[in-house]
């Protein structure tokens, strides 16, 4: 039964060689599928979204700067929606950032035991709550709070401020968790170096820890902004859904790119100008998210270059 060395080698080598090529083929196919999906997606949104400007005769400039979104009248000014999207995004980030950063500092620098075992799991629980639940809570708690704080000025309570507050709570776990990771990744040697120079804990946190974590912290913020910018359902439930004109203040009911897209879809017939205009909103959303990702990559590569 003894095999020669050659035979043994052949038997062993054949399946190995096959496995190599099967593995290569399978993983390669996966990469191809992902690449095709990404390209097809971008292509489709771009094609449909650009039809508005190239086939339907609506100027890109007037689309972006027009102040009235009244599709039934054939008026497609997306500025109120763009303003709505940006104001809820920026405001919610503004609300979230200090809280996320403060708790990250507490968790990493002050009470790591409590932070890692109790606080972080608690925060991560928030990630799993569905948008509609946030919307529901926002509708009953935040909008009511707006009414009781601002009285008649708040109207029903629905508006940009309510949307921003609900979004702030929604992005809080993302920004907090990423901030915690960012601070925890700062080498302990930096802290020791700072303490050894006679610096206090707060001097160390402020001048060394936050400074060296800055690129990662910015990534955390942008991840939060990306989420806020793209969130639809919860915002729709609390923002009031007024698309037709520019909001005059933070208490004014408004709409965002995402909420207008969702609500417009029920009335638009496929192939109509209105339908294409909704795709154009989608295109703006896509461009914005690509832009956010680009910034994250720029920060990443800059940070990497610095740490070389």
């Amino acid at each position: 039964m003894a095999k020669t060395k050659e035979e043994y080698k052949d038997k062993k080598m054949m399946p190995k060689g096959q496995l190599e090529s099967v593995g290569l083929g399978l993983t390669g196919a996966c990469v191809a599928v992902v690449a095709i999906v990404v390209v097809a997606l971008i292509f489709m949104v771009a094609q449909q979204g650009l039809t508005t400007f190239f086939a339907d005769g609506i100027g890109f400039g007037s689309f972006i700067t027009g102040q009235n979104w009244i599709p039934s009248d054939g008026r497609f000014g997306a500025l109120p929606l763009i303003v709505g999207s940006f104001s809820v995004t920026l405001l919610s980030t503004l609300f979230t950032l200090p809280i996320a950063l403060g708790s990250a500092i507490f968790v990493v620098e002050i009470q790591p035991g409590f932070g890692r075992k109790i606080f972080q799991p608690l925060v991560e629980l928030l990630v799993g709550i569905p948008s509609v639940v946030y919307g529901l809570i926002g509708l009953t708690v935040v909008n009511a709070a707006m009414r009781s704080i601002f009285g008649a000025a708040a109207g029903t309570g629905a508006g940009i401020l309510s949307g921003a507050i609900v979004l702030a709570v929604m992005i809080l776990p993302t920004v907090t968790t990423l901030s915690i990771d960012a601070l925890a990744a700062v080498p302990n040697a930096y802290r020791e170096g700072s303490y050894a120079l006679g610096c206090t804990r707060w001097q160390t946190v402020w001048h060394v820890v936050l400074k060296s974590a800055m690129p990662s912290l910015m990534t955390a913020v942008i991840m939060g902004m990306t989420r806020a910018f793209g969130e639809t359902l919860a915002v729709q439930m609390v923002i009031g859904g007024v698309e037709k004109s520019m909001p005059a203040g933070l208490l004014d009911p408004a709409a965002t790119l995402t909420t207008a897209l969702t609500s417009g879809l029920s009335n638009a017939t496929t192939g109509s100008v209105e339908y294409h205009a909704l795709w154009s909103l989608g295109l703006i959303l896509l461009a914005m998210s690509l832009f956010f990702i680009l910034i994250i990559h720029l920060i990443g590569s800059k940070g990497a270059a610095k740490h070389d």
Partner: protein, 268 residues
């Protein structure tokens, strides 16, 4: 630094009759809330403006003792101490820790420049103590970088990141950074163990020079390094101070058998 100056300095200076900078008396230290005793009844005088070396095998407590001198041990949970530790006659554990660390600087085993410019690294300590004018900043940079033998290499590029320096340069930057708060004592924990031979010899020369005006305490794994830089040597073994004295005496005429065995390489 000129060659003959270095030669002159590498001769060991007397440590007898020299003022004591740090006094360690019947000092014990436990980790893990008393679960493990890392230092046992240490008695040692660190002479002022001299270089003292701590030698001994790994895990014998050299770093532990060094980190009590600037209270870096405060950051380790569960540390308990007993006995006396005095810096210039004051109880170290009764001093304000931050004020103490300004006067007792430290250089670590692995160079740890901050991720900022060379200039900001140097001025990090001074800037925390008060506002600095540009001239004061320039002056501190030039003085400390010159003292750390790095000035000529970086003077045209102080805006460069401290992380972009080579290991040896980074360690000298850390020495300059420590000197910027004008400390009286400089603690160095195996400062050359991560460096190449050329950088090592530069840093060794620095230790000798710095010990003219500072009290230098260096932990070293390398016995030859102790003979080259230290005026006084203390040999530790398993948390005990076995023997201490003038470097020449400890190396040429060790009193304890443990020391003899260690020096002759019978264990390490």
């Amino acid at each position: 630094m000129s060659q003959d100056r270095v030669f002159e300095q590498s001769e060991h200076r007397s440590v007898q009759g020299v003022e004591t900078e740090i006094e360690v008396k019947d000092f014990d230290l436990w980790y893990d809330n008393g679960g493990f005793q890392a230092l046992k009844h240490i008695n040692l005088d660190i002479p002022k403006s001299r270089c003292t070396a701590f030698i001994g095998p790994s895990g014998c407590g050299k770093t532990t003792l060094l980190r009590t001198f600037n209270r870096m041990c405060d950051f380790t949970e569960g540390v308990k101490t007993e006995g006396t530790l005095k810096f210039e006659g004051q109880q170290i554990f009764e001093m304000d820790a931050n004020a103490l660390r300004v006067r007792v600087g430290m250089v670590f085993q692995h160079p740890n420049p901050f991720p900022m410019s060379i200039r900001d690294n140097i001025l990090y300590g001074p800037a925390r103590m008060g506002k600095l004018s540009k001239e004061e900043g320039d002056e501190i940079c030039e003085r400390t970088l010159t003292e750390a033998a790095l000035w000529d290499e970086v003077k045209d590029n102080l805006a460069k990141s401290g992380l972009a320096l080579s290991g040896g340069q980074a360690q000298r930057l850390c020495i300059a950074r420590a000197l910027a708060t004008e400390p009286e004592v400089l603690l160095m924990d195996e400062p050359t163990s991560a460096l190449d031979p050329i950088s090592t010899s530069i840093v060794e020369q620095l230790m000798v020079e710095l010990a003219q005006e500072h009290t230098v305490v260096v932990v070293t794994h390398n016995m030859q390094q102790a003979t080259r830089v230290a005026d006084k040597t203390a040999f530790f073994y398993r948390g005990n101070l076995i023997e201490s004295g003038p470097t020449v005496e400890v190396f040429s005429n060790p009193k304890e058998q443990r020391t003899q065995e260690y020096l002759s390489g019978r264990f390490s």
